[in-house]
Every structure is written in C-alpha cells, then in structure tokens.
Symmetry: C2
Subunit: 318 residues, 2 copies
C-alpha cells in the first residue's frame, strides 16, 4: 500500500498548507531549524518508510539556503526508506543559468538537477521553467506544469478576448506568447525588440514594438518578474506606441527590489502573478493580483501519486 506524504521546506509554508488542503492531507510534522553557524537541521516526526514522498520547497531569497534545505530533506527521506521521492520546485532555482553565455561559466540549472538527483530525488515537479530544455537536465521524469491556463482564464474573465493583443517583452518569449494568443481566441501578437548588455543583467534597454498594439488592451506576458526593469520598460514602450490598458501576467513573482515600486508606478492596469514564490505584504501593491498555484500543484501530485497521466493538465485550466 502506497502512502502519499507531503513535506514542506520553510520557504513558503502558506503554499504547502494550500496544497495540503487541496490534497486533503496534512503537511508531515517536522523539526527544521538553523544551528548557530547556519547549518540546517531537519527531522521528520513520523515514519516515512515506504511512503510516496513529495518535498515541496519554494526558492525565494535567500535561495541557496532553501536549496540546501530541500536537499537535506530529500537525504533524510532517502535514509528513512521513503519508497519514491519527488522534489516539487514551483520556481526552479538558477533557471536563467541554463547555458554558458561565455566561456568558463557554470551551468547552474544543470547543477541543481544533479544535486537533487544525488540527494535522492527520483522525479521533479516544476512550473514554467525559464526554458524547456531544463527538463533534460534531470536524469529522471520531470512534470513540467504551466500556469498559463489559469492566468489566461483569469484574464479572459476580466478583460474578455476582444480588442486585445498578446505582447512578449522580448524576442525570446514570442513562442510562448503565440501559445497565449491561441488560448485567448487567436489574439494578435506583438513583441518588444530590445537590446540588452549581457554583462549587466537586470538592466535592459528596450526599443520599439513589433506588431499591432494601438488602442488594444495589451496582455504583456513573461515567465517571471524579477527586478521588474524589463517589464516596466515594456509598459512604457507600449504606452508610447499607443496601446490601451496594459495587463502584465507572469508565473513567478520574484519581485526583487525595486520591482514593486516599479510595477506600481509603471502605468499597468494590473499585474497578475501566481504564488510559486511567497509574496510578503511589503512587496504587495494595489494593482497586484496573486493567484494560487496550489490547485495545479495538488492535481499534479495527485496524478503522479496515482501514476496517472499528467498530460491533461498541461494546457488545462481549472
């Protein structure tokens, strides 16, 4: 008899509680604390023997801390004879370091996959990887889920599909924007043709709009909003190009300083993200909407547990 057990790191307990509620299970009680020198101690309060273990950890700042905590939890599960261990990473750490941009660089996204495997993870559940190729970094099954269905449904309900345009903030996301456009009733596509200095990330020089946005409600989409420079710049360019309302939708609200200030002031009608990362009160602002990713995670966990196919969820909405 297999036994679904849900474990949670300390990065985002609220999300774990939401997932537990959806699954109608309890987050397994544990002791987790930091020793004086910063070493993490974890111990589970219940036997994990034979369990189908799902280890949920979110990866906000200080991210390396949460990576190590998840690895340590997985190690403890392995040694505690869990039957199968699935690492659940709603936001995959180091996803932007998925290739060498120049020589003598790490590929940290691959390193993360290898570290999870080494600690004892048999499979991974994650949401909206920065690039799809990261799935191939892990030596085992990866359930790569998408928040687009949920975000798009919210937008459809609120803004309709008439007179909208789907806008990619750069040339790299046009393919994703295309999928959005399909979901939103074949809306027209646009993207911002921008230049970025590879030596100064988090800093972007945005330029002109390619595509038709004038008078349209623009749905500006991205996988994550970090410091918000790109996306706030894109709103400005869209407005200058005569766009109507601009609505921002992204899966991951990293919201590093000064993202919240930038987004609140950028002129966007609404900024929609999910809670793959915790969003503290002081990061919130009036036009921010946070949708819960818990239903998607819970359904994926349930289907993995039942050895069911997760394909139906890939493009699915609630």
């Amino acid at each position: 008899q297999k036994n679904l057990m849900l474990f949670s790191g300390r990065a985002h307990p609220e999300l774990a509680e939401q997932v537990a509620k959806e699954l109608d299970v309890q987050v397994t009680p544990q002791t987790a604390r930091d020793f004086a020198n910063g070493e993490i101690f974890v111990r589970f309060e219940e036997s994990v023997r034979g369990s189908d273990a799902f280890v949920l950890q979110s990866h906000p700042f200080p991210l390396n801390q949460w990576v190590m905590e998840q690895l340590i939890m997985i190690d403890a599960l392995k040694r505690g004879s869990a039957k199968r261990i699935t690492a659940v990473l709603p936001f995959y750490p180091y996803a932007r370091q998925d290739k060498k941009h120049r020589g003598r660089e790490p590929i940290s996204a691959r390193l993360i996959a290898d570290l999870l495997k080494t600690a004892g993870a048999d499979r991974i559940i994650t949401v909206d990887l920065h690039t799809d190729q990261i799935q191939g970094f892990f030596d085992g099954p990866v359930d790569h889920m998408h928040a687009q269905g949920q975000l798009a449904e919210y937008i459809r309900d609120r803004y309709g599909v008439e007179n909208i345009a789907v806008v990619s903030p750069d040339s790299g996301r046009v393919r994703v924007a295309e999928k959005w456009a399909d979901t939103l009733g074949g809306a027209p596509l646009a993207f911002i043709h921008k230049t970025r200095d590879p030596l100064v990330p988090n800093q972007v020089k945005s330029n002109r709009v390619v595509g038709e946005v004038e008078g349209r409600t623009c749905i500006l989409i991205d996988d994550m909003i970090d410091t918000g420079g790109t996306i706030a710049g894109a709103v400005k360019i869209l407005k200058e190009a005569g766009a109507g309302d601009v609505v921002i939708a992204a899966t991951h609200g990293v919201l590093s300083h000064p993202a919240s200030e930038r987004l609140a002031a950028c002129g966007a009608e609404e900024v929609i993200v999910t809670n793959t990362l915790p969003i503290d009160d002081e990061k919130r602002f009036p036009t921010l909407t946070v949708l819960s990713i818990a239903p998607l995670l819970a359904r994926t966990i349930q289907e993995v547990f039942e050895n069911g196919s997760v394909t139906s969820l890939f493009n699915g909405s609630a």
Copy 2:
C-alpha cells in the same frame, strides 16, 4: 604540462591570499556576484583548460551560501576542462551531522561529500574533521590535515611542557587529547565528564573532572569552538577543581554569538584557534590568538600537485 591554479570563493579572501603567497601563485581572477534574487554567478577570467585546480572555500555563516558557491565554481571548472579539481574545505560543513542521532534524520556530512563529487570534485583537502569517518563519505582521495602540530608548537614555546595537563572537554575527544599529550612530552590527561541533552545542542551541562589537574596549566583542546558554551563551562569546572592557568586550543574558531563574550569572560589565560574560518574584528578579544592555517594548506596543495606523499605533514609541525 600541468598547471596549478588556485581559486577562491568569497567567504575568506584573506586566507586565499595567504595560501597564494605561500605557493607563490596568484588567486585566479574571477567575477563572482549575487543576483538580485540571491542566485550566485561565477565566471573565471582566465582559461582553466588542463589545469590542476584547487578551489578554496571557507564555510562561516551563512554557510549554505558558501557551499553553493563552491559547487558552482567546481561546475564551472569541470565545464571549462580543468584536468583535476580539488575542493579545499578548511572547515568541513555539516561535520556534526555525520550520523543519524535518531530516526528520520539526514546525514548531511555525507550529502556534502556527494554534492562535491557530483559538481565535479576529484579530491578533497580538509582540516581536522569533527570525526575521522567523514573521510569515508567522499568517493575519492581525501587529504585530512591536522592543525595540532602547529597549535602544539605554539603552546610548547609559550607554556613549556612542565606541569601541564591536556584536557578534553568531553569523553568524545579523549583519544585526540591523548595524541596531544604525546606531542606535549607525555603530559597527563584529563577530561570533563559531562551530560548533554541531544534535543538541545549548543547547550551543555558539564560535571566533574576525571584526571589530575590541580595546580597544573591545563591545555583544553577541541576541534571547534562554536557558541563556546561547552568550552567556557569546562574552564569553570577546571578552575573549581583547582587548575592553574587554562589555555584553550581549537582548530576551528566558529565563534557564533555569544562565543566571544563567553570566552573573554571565562577566565582562560589564552584562546588559540586557526583561521580555517574568517574571524571578523568584532569577534576578536584580547586573549584570542589566531594562527594562520595557510602554510599547512599551501604545503598540502603543493604536495598534491606534485603527486607527492602528504604523510609527512600529518603529524608534522612547521
């Protein structure tokens, strides 16, 4: 032609400079920084192809950050075609979690070894492991060096070997104390018979002294001083038992708060540690002496580089 290259994480640049000076090499220039969300970026400024690479990282608080940085550096070296990669860890992280003390616990010291191997480390150089068994956790050669020779020499010069006693702060270190006693001219041995609650680490109830200490200069030895509770308590017990001066000697000065206050006030004549960990100015106090571990690390690196035997250093002094 093999090429020794020294790399340094950001945890303890001073130690790296000392080691580089001893080896008469330069620390390889690199870019290392934290992105806004806490992800670490590392890039080396020189080709590492074919090099015999030594990656020095110290592990003070916030230790998990430095673990990840060293792993990322090793990953970058592996992908940059370094010929051999040696991880140099003067203070081995998570060494105290070297076994399951109860069920459902991780063995984080083993996890660290596996993570280093997975990232690409071929071998490890480390100093005074909390337990010797940790050598067996790494799947490859481990050069396990000891600071005892250097510490004992300092003590011999300063306090002589007449009328001293070597004291272990607990029953677990008696064996190590025995080696010290040999080094210090066959000094008598003592230890503190103490009780500790396994659920409340960093907290110790010390009891009575076993062995002859009355009127003697007591050399109280340990591998590390973390919050200093154990060792400060031991000084008190020794004084109550009629000891003369108490001199504390330990390899690793973790010195988590409130160690410095405790040690400064505990009545010890002198506290001697090495700089396997950085010791900031605000942690220093008048009776603290910090010896540099750089000569030992440099000699070990040199001998590994030359494929020489390191045995001569094991018990050796400078």
